[in-house]
């Protein structure tokens, strides 16, 4: 009988605190706990980072992993530049200067934050950072990797800390696009920072369309979809038009639609395209531009006001 009463009490208290938590009434308590715990967590994370290598495999492999990480960083930087260039080209081609949106991000104000914790539940993909409302961080703000690719948004902001919902979290959905003009580097081609594909083999025979006398083809419209987080697959680019011609290697960037993300932020690279007969939309698996499971430092874009924040009173 006592156990039943205890269970009832715990359920009641649990639900009350759950409701209070949903109303942000317990945020100061969480902030205080994180204030106490963050230095310890930070120390543990620093001490434990070599565990990642050990866990990955034998000693030599750790160096390979670090090299790989460095190369990925460089690759990510180059891809960011490519994506940025593509975005600018596209904006110019589409005469968006008339709409005055091509220069939206020259004055990005970024604040650097350290990752102090990761959500261990497995049901979510979240990290905690050591900046909060006192540093100008607010819920909904966009968070980038140190190389400038999109990693998520602020989902909970306390006084001195904040939780970031990563783009591979099941709750995450980002309006995205693939710029088809240079989105097909696959099949052995190498993507250069100029957005062109270097063919490793002989120069292909010129086609009539490619002759110097032919007028340049109009730029194809970007293929738009929604990049959703997925527990199993990481990031899935969904709702793609079935006739869209994208393939592995295509760069996925934010489209800016909806106003919650600035346009042109690199999300990742298409690794696989899935199209089922009769399916109304195509899907593509996307590999994030940065490793989302080993983030140490992130950048919060504090001057971009997402539409959902601007709409709030």
């Amino acid at each position: 009988m006592r156990l039943i009463w205890w269970l009832a009490t715990v359920m009641f208290v649990g639900f009350v605190t759950l409701l209070l938590s949903e109303q942000n009434a317990l945020d100061p308590l969480k902030n205080a706990t994180l204030t106490v715990s963050a230095p310890v967590e930070d120390t543990f994370r620093d001490a434990a980072s070599p565990l990642s290598d050990i866990y990955e495999g034998i000693a030599d492999r750790g160096e390979l992993v670090r090299d790989n990480e460095r190369l990925r960083d460089e690759n990510e930087t180059l891809k960011s530049q490519v994506a940025d260039q593509q975005e600018k080209d596209l904006l110019i081609q589409q005469l968006t200067d008339a709409l005055q949106i091509q220069s939206q991000r020259p004055d990005d104000q970024l604040v650097v934050a350290n990752v102090v914790a990761e959500d261990p539940s497995g049901l979510k993909r979240s990290i905690a950072i050591d900046l909060g409302q006192s540093d100008g961080v607010d819920e909904g703000m966009v968070v980038l990797s140190r190389n400038g690719s999109l990693i998520g948004t602020v989902s909970l902001a306390f006084q001195d800390f904040a939780w970031i919902r990563l783009i591979n979290d099941p709750e995450s959905a980002v309006n995205a696009q693939v710029n088809v003009s240079s989105a097909q580097p696959g099949d052995g081609g190498v993507l250069t920072p100029g957005g062109q594909e270097d063919e490793p083999s002989a120069t292909p025979a010129p086609s009539p369309e490619a002759s110097p006398s032919a007028s340049p083809a109009p730029p194809p419209a970007p293929v738009r979809g929604v990049a959703e987080g997925h527990l199993r697959d990481g990031i899935v680019l969904d709702l793609l038009p079935p006739e869209s011609a994208i393939g592995p290697g295509a760069l996925v960037v934010t489209s800016g639609l909806g106003g919650n993300y600035p346009p042109g932020l690199l999300i990742g690279t298409v690794t696989e395209v899935e199209q089922r007969p009769q399916a109304p939309f195509k899907k593509a698996l996307v590999e994030a531009a940065t490793r989302l499971d080993s983030l140490d430092t992130v950048l919060v874009l504090v001057n971009f006001k997402p539409a959902r924040l601007e709409a709030a009173p």
């Binding site: 359920m11 208290v13 959500d119 099941p170």
Partner: protein
């Protein structure tokens, strides 16, 4: 004092959960040390202490993760009745019952977490979560149980007085 000690240990394990164990994720999940600790305490030290320690562990877990406060308080509550149930055993040991209780509580915790996250408006892919998180967590938490159970067992006062009259097989665990 014992509850203060339990709170400090639970806090320490929760800190390990969010800082160190994201680097170690066999089968794609990290062990939930706070859950293991709460269940081990409930089995090894008995129901009276578990009634305080288990919700305390849930509260500490909630304060250190992105979960809303209350989720783990409710999610860990089944640990107490499960720990009580697994005392009905044929061998005089807490080890196997603790393993069983950890697995049972992990399953309950996973399902309750999904339900409560859904209740708070978050999108939960039920099948994927069961397959990729809840089921692997049963195994991983069971595998990590000795790390917490054994030190607790060695330092705990024996709770076996009421077992002496029963015809159970002895065990060093």
């Amino acid at each position: 004092v014992r509850y203060a000690v339990a709170a400090v240990i639970a806090w320490f394990l929760a800190v390990l959960d969010v800082s160190v164990f994201p680097y170690i994720h066999p089968l794609g999940v990290s062990p939930d040390l706070v859950l293991i600790f709460a269940v081990s305490w409930a089995v090894v030290r008995g129901q009276d202490e578990a009634l305080v320690v288990v919700p305390l562990c849930g509260l500490i877990q909630d304060l250190l993760t992105s979960d809303p406060v209350g989720l783990s308080i409710i999610g860990l509550a089944p640990a107490v009745p499960i720990a009580l149930a697994v005392r009905m055993r044929a061998i005089e040991t807490d080890f196997l019952p603790t393993i069983a209780a950890v697995m049972g509580t992990s399953a309950c915790y996973g399902v309750i977490s999904m339900a409560l996250l859904g209740f708070t408006g978050q999108d939960v892919a039920v099948f994927n979560s069961l397959l990729r998180v809840v089921f692997p967590a049963l195994i991983i938490n069971a595998l990590f149980t000795p790390l917490i159970y054994l030190p607790m067992h060695w330092t705990a006062p024996r709770q076996t007085a009421w077992l002496q009259s029963s015809a159970r097989l002895p065990s060093s665990l």
